[in-house]
């Protein structure tokens, strides 16, 4: 819906200034291979505003994320959660306010709702996108998501869930300090979703990047995040810490957890519904 509205206004192959920084980081990334996993960085958003015409989508968002924190953003469609994420990714220019990550510039990657694999490149080359000399790292990342044997297949031969796992591997090769997830599981079936949630949680636990997940699935937010933010009409309406033991994506139906889980989910849902009653 907000896909690249600026794309036809400028030449197709001209660089956007926001992209140059990530290109530089991509060149530096292969050096980091073999080094200990990079830790997440803090993210600080203050007074972020964005409007499309007369419609104000973000009305002064203030948000502090600790390094390595997993934050989920929920809300109804059109509440501005995706715009916030795209602003974080530098895909959307905010009208005012500021975003700071780590010291200076952080290495940031985004996973989209669609896998956005290049159909004309085999799976392995898709994972190595932006890092053409890192085929070994790409193969390792592909094994991490359990698709090591599909390296030479065309993306068209993969299922929806497998495509998203390839997209996850592609993001991980870059060893991001911040991983943004824009409803990446929205189009998957229920079982595949749970598998993907477990995979994302375990990778986040082992690698420690800062993660921001946008979703409309409250259960998914509770399963994955340290903190769930509810956005309503462009402002943060609820900021709820989720204090359940990890790993939880796999064990959310178990014993005591289940009750706490359901209570948290209910609390967020009732907030969403009350706001619109």
């Amino acid at each position: 819906m907000l896909l690249a509205p600026t794309y036809f206004e400028s030449d197709l192959i001209a660089d956007a200034p926001a992209q140059e920084q990530s290109a530089r980081h991509a060149d530096a990334a292969p050096l980091a291979r073999g080094a200990p996993e990079r830790q997440g960085v803090p993210v600080s958003i203050s007074a972020l505003r964005k409007s499309y015409g007369a419609r104000e989508v973000l009305r002064g968002i203030d948000l502090q994320l600790k390094p390595g924190e997993f934050v989920a953003i929920v809300g109804r469609s059109g509440c501005g959660k995706s715009t916030l994420l795209r602003a974080l990714a530098g895909l959307e220019q905010a009208d005012s306010g500021s975003i700071a990550m780590g010291e200076g510039k952080a290495d940031l990657r985004i996973m989209f709702q669609e896998a956005r694999l290049l159909p004309w490149k085999p799976v392995l080359e898709n994972v190595a996108l932006g890092l053409p000399h890192a085929l070994n790292a790409a193969a390792a990342a592909l094994s991490t998501v359990g698709l090591g044997e599909r390296a030479d297949d065309w993306p068209a031969a993969l299922s929806g869930g497998q495509k998203q796992r390839v997209a996850l591997a592609r993001a991980l090769v870059h060893q991001p300090q911040v991983l943004l997830l824009d409803e990446p599981l929205g189009a998957l079936d229920a079982l595949t979703r749970i598998e993907m949630q477990q995979l994302i949680e375990s990778l986040w636990l082992s690698r420690g990047f800062t993660a921001v997940l946008v979703t409309h699935d409250v259960a998914e937010a509770v399963a994955l995040a340290d903190r769930v933010l509810l956005i309503e009409d462009g402002a943060i309406a609820l900021d709820l810490a989720i204090d359940l033991p990890r790993p939880r994506a796999a064990a959310r139906g178990n014993g005591d957890n289940a009750a706490a889980f359901a209570a948290l989910e209910q609390r967020i849902l009732s907030h969403v519904l009350r706001a619109h009653a």
């Binding site: 690249a4 895909l91 956005r116 932006g130």
Partner: protein, 269 residues
Amino acid sequence: MAAANTGAQRTRGSVFSSTFASSLAPWILPAALLLLWEVSARAGWLSTRVLPEPWSVARAFWTLAASGELWTHLGTSLWRAGSGFAVGAGAGLALGLLTGSFRRAETLLDTTLQMIRNIPALALIPLVILWFGIDETAKLFLLAVGVFFPVYLNTFHGIRSTDPGLIEMARSYGVSGWPLYRDVILPGALPSILVGVRFSLGLVWVLLIVAETISAQAGIGYMTMNAREFLQTDVVLVGILLYALLGKLADLASRAMEKHFLRWNPAYR
């Protein structure tokens, strides 16, 4: 035991005959028509002025091939088609990439090109003869102009219809400039570009026939026109069949190109 055996044989036999029949089926009608043609020519229902019998067409083909005349004409025609296609399609590709990729180039060039596009290439013949006379340049020019537009339009459209989501993704993964063009925009435009190439390959023979009948000293068109003067209907038919064959070969070549370049796309496998 014996019954099972014959059953298996019968199945194998029917599978064999069904694949054999289905590969043969498309040729039943042409073969029947050929037979009808031969029979009616022999029976005298068809005058050789109208249509010579297939056998004499085959004989004419053999005579022309044996004397080497056929190959000279064929070579000349192939050279014309090839060079006209290379110039026209090359220019179409280059300009299509330019106007597709750069706003300013589009503003500057596209309106003009769209105006020229509406002039049929063949309507230019009188002017082309005045400009270049009746030698090779005139033919090359006609072919190049005719072939240019399908390639140009499809390249432009292909570049513009590359999935913006993929471009956005690639940029956010640090791909920009030439690698972005090579790995994302160009492959995205390729299916459309190949449609243009295929269309142009079909068109080039049509234009060649007209160009070679203007005035030529060699080529299949010349051979055919010459034979008409001498009422050699069999040679005329050889020429027509050669055009059909060349058109089919061009189509096969462009299909092979699609199969190779678009092998990632399940629709072309």
